[in-house]
Symmetry: D2
Subunit: 348 residues, 4 copies
């Protein structure tokens, strides 16, 4: 079985494993107060062109989303997010468990929300005579890329950022797959742009070369304050915190993060091209590492004996949308084999 | 600087690192549903002599304590624990953040609580005419060894277990340092005893040879039910869950967990013997990997240039209690050097 | 200004005020442990034909909804409710503040949900391979009448109840306006039916003749257990609890609750008839005390100088849906005056 | 049976009942937005000599304590309070249910805490190298009078206020029995002093003449902001809010609050004098409406056939501390009868 089901099927990039080996018996203080974390913080600040940013490391995405969101919101506030956003659908109610409603905004298959939607939701609340009886929007959550692989363009993010600042809503970007977004062919943003437009965001490691780990970048002074208490309380403060520092140091000391992200994109684009050639349309067309073709169920069944993918949804009685994921670890020979199989089974 | 400050200063045991390397490019499903986790579960059930136990893996201690406790308690219940217990003092209010009071029971320097204390607390509540206006005891939390290195003896744990079952209070043991407890010279329990007396407990990996990881063993069917939803919601479900499975597999496939625990104890006992010979008394005397001597401040100051330790508390104007930790990774030559330094500085 | 804006504009029915006066200097124990509460409990059990029911009194609706829902759900569960349900829209996130997601089911203007919707939502969750990553449905919330005045018919409620029991989902009915529902002309249920089909529900006093107060009727033994701890913890245990007992005693000792509910319905039907005669359609047609006609904005503007109503929503560029409420306190002469005004302004 | 068990055994002062009757059929907007509430707000601001204060009305004490405390604290903060404080002991974990630890400070039988204790707790936390692993003190809760009837003197409160402001800890006073405190013979503060020294406090109505109701006075602009969302979310926003406004209007329009408080004190002092004459000592000596003598169990047993009191605790094998409460409603003839009985039974 060759796995295209997700982007966290393997361990870590060999360079990371090697560094974990060579540093293994070093003695360091715990909880992210070590030299590796400090160096990783410096590298990430540099990459973001924000010397003033606070950088903290957490282990996983749900933990990171929860910790950030409940740090920002007041008890009577909720977080605006796309209805299909990870926090609204796939975190077992982690946000609500911290006492906050996810204020879902309708979205298309791309999973994106717009500056206009945010402004309208905010104004509708503030102008309502019964506002006190409703949840007040308190921040905005977006993912880039989204759950379905779409990316925000610079103008879109700039507009969102502007609306957020006008409304006093901190803007938080979930960047679990940020590398894959920023390496997409049609992307027009840099990491520095992200840091400039967002009040807090994270650079995903788990899905982009690390064993685990998400690097939170905070530019808003209010969110920086006492954030480490929140990490500890939410169970996100790794005892051997240096494991996170070491991994992000390797990823950012010579651009490895970008190179391996680019590889995943190259593999995804090769697959996308083949799918287009076979005449398939997409549930949500994109240029990142998650390709979501709509394919006949009989073709999918045949593929499933050798290739894994994720089922997304039935689109009609004989077709389904599915997801093929590439990652930093995807081997080109496996993509080629998958393409051949798709071509073979798709022939009439 | 040679570190005796804590038991999580290094990475992982070399055998674990090696296995992580050899399995690194394997493709597995996420979230602990892989073959490594299954094998580790099997080994742990076997070691516990409980084929019916549910075994789940989480990353760290605070996360594990929080997830278990809020899984068990009803909204109006609290958890009985020693006043010096980790959950009452050193988790930034993580338990309260889930809505529950820690019902602190007074304890000595050893950090232990007794069956009688539990029964009295429970009966005092149940017999109070205003019980509805107070927090109802809903479970019991103990650590073995405690924060200060003391262990529970079989008769003590059996009594606690009996009281808990009579009162309908699930018994939860925090075993972050369980290996060091069970390898103590005066310990009279096996892992199977622990599994028999507790409704849920965990076997600590973070402090005993792993990079990170705690193996939760659940014998109570009510706690088993839907526990994985709780892990996910509390941010404890590691995407690459196999990392936890692989580590516990290595620790339990041939008794490595016990051998490296024994090593830490041997090192601690060598140090303890030297401290006794120097005439020092202990803040809380014990036979586990945390030695807490009371020493003159001037001796401590001299030691501090080469050896790290944790400050515990001032005991009088010229003496302090401090903690020296050994671990699976402690080198005997470093213990010898520390002993020599202590002897030298302690001479009048 | 004559108020038709809501059903809580006045104080209490004169009989209640009188009884509060005559009992005012009686000395009773607090917290609902007095003879008045006991007598009210007896009367309500009798009216429900459920001698085994537990009856508890709380002050207001949001408090009652919150207390019940967080008593029932486990931490990883959410409550299924109509998207337009009070708990989803108008309680400032009170449910989420207890840690639980409101799982919104789509509904029409009537605000009702069906047995099929509940079963589908439950089965979709349980059959999802990623169920652990999502909020588990844990109970069902319905209002009768709904926010928009619609009522459930016996067959509908019976079906819902059956599905709920099959799925293990406790069924909770918000009866803030229950009297107005059960007195509607087309209603085919009794209070005993409600008690039979629901696991827990409440009989609203605040909107039906009392100064304040909601009588919670619990038939499910699991919800009964320790429910008073929850009332206290959630701030709903009134010190002078007898105030609640006295009011419900007056309402239920000789059928006053039903007589005054019937009066509100009579007034509403008189108004509805006039609205129909004027050719108006309804946002959500119903036979309870909330009438929601769609009327021209210019007519509404003229009415607004003498008669208050609630704005519901713009239905097109020149018309709006509004709400006229009647209650136990509505004077027929005021309804007649309103009808005359509507007729006058509605003439072309 | 003549009740001295608590200060909420009767209904409301006759003047309040009368006003509730005369206003009963008035039509007003809900949720405290009516003219009665506005007038009560004006009167209370005036009595506090704080035109800038925000005044909000809630129904009961637990609800008020919870709403205020969870409005002020950040998620990782706790509230400093006396170990015997109501929020730490008698609210069923309501504070913890909002996610916050009560940081208990040791106190004597009087139930008071000092400025020094607050400063020490704050500094100990801030100077701890592991502060991030502990709950940060975020505000201070005191009761005046305390649970055991003691009052704070002006110098004490001024010192507490000063420390709080230096440490950035908002100061909150629970004034459930504030009238009884300010009318005590040895009291040296005015309501204006309270308003000057506290950031938020409440004037208790439930125990001082009202059917129910607590008037929250907020002087800190940060706590004022959006406080009504919190009231709604916590279930404390009474639909017929005017009931609270009317009651506080009656209490404050001509000094009724102070006159009836004085009456309770006069009755308590008469009883205290008699207890002293009989040679009894006190569990916690005070000059407010709760008298806590230590009396022989046989005397108490005899009294109990005609007079109710609250059992406090066994002080030795033959004596117990008990509480006799007076209130605005206590009849002098009943106090005289109680005194006679005490004198009779106390004779050797």
């Amino acid at each position: 079985m060759i796995e295209f089901q997700c982007d966290y099927a393997e361990g870590a990039h060999p360079k990371i494993m090697e560094r974990l080996m060579t540093t293994n018996m070093d003695q360091t203080p715990g909880y992210g107060m070590d030299v590796y974390c400090d160096e990783a913080r410096r590298l990430i600040r540099q990459a973001c062109q924000r010397e003033d940013a606070d950088v903290q490391f957490l282990v996983g995405g749900t933990q990171t989303n929860t910790t950030i969101i409940c740090s920002v919101l007041k008890p009577y506030q909720g977080v605006l997010a796309a209805a299909s956003g990870h926090i609204n659908v796939h975190e077992s109610g982690a946000i609500e468990a911290t006492g906050h409603k996810v204020l879902a905004l309708s979205c298309g298959h791309d999973g994106k929300i717009s500056a206009d939607q945010i402004r309208e939701a905010y104004e509708m609340h503030m102008n309502d005579g019964n506002a006190e009886h409703m949840v007040q929007p308190g921040m905005v959550y977006i993912s880039n890329p989204t759950e379905n692989g779409a990316i925000y363009y610079k103008k879109e993010l700039e507009d969102i950022s502007e609306v957020c600042h006008k409304c006093g809503l901190p803007l938080f970007m979930d960047g679990a797959r940020l590398g894959y977004g920023l390496m997409a062919e049609d992307n027009d943003m840099t990491l520095a742009d992200i840091a400039r437009f967002c009040d807090v965001f994270y650079i995903g490691g788990t899905k982009v070369g690390a064993l685990f780990g998400e690097a939170v970048v905070i530019t808003d002074p209010l969110i920086k304050k006492d954030f480490r208490y929140m990490i500890k309380q939410r169970g996100g403060m790794l005892a051997k915190g240096r494991l996170l520092g070491i991994q992000f140091q390797v990823l950012f000391e010579d651009g490895l993060y970008w190179r391996i992200s680019k590889h995943a994109i190259d593999m995804a684009m090769k697959l996308k091209k083949a799918l287009v050639e076979c005449g398939y349309s997409f549930y949500a067309e994109n240029n990142t590492n998650q390709q979501l073709p709509i394919m006949p169920d009989d073709v999918l069944e045949k593929l499933s004996h050798q290739y894994s993918y994720s089922f997304w949804e039935k689109t009609d009685s004989t077709n389904s949308a599915v997801r093929f994921c590439t990652s930093w670890a995807t081997k080109e020979e496996n993509v080629d084999a998958l393409i051949n199989a798709i071509k073979k089974y798709s022939k009439k």
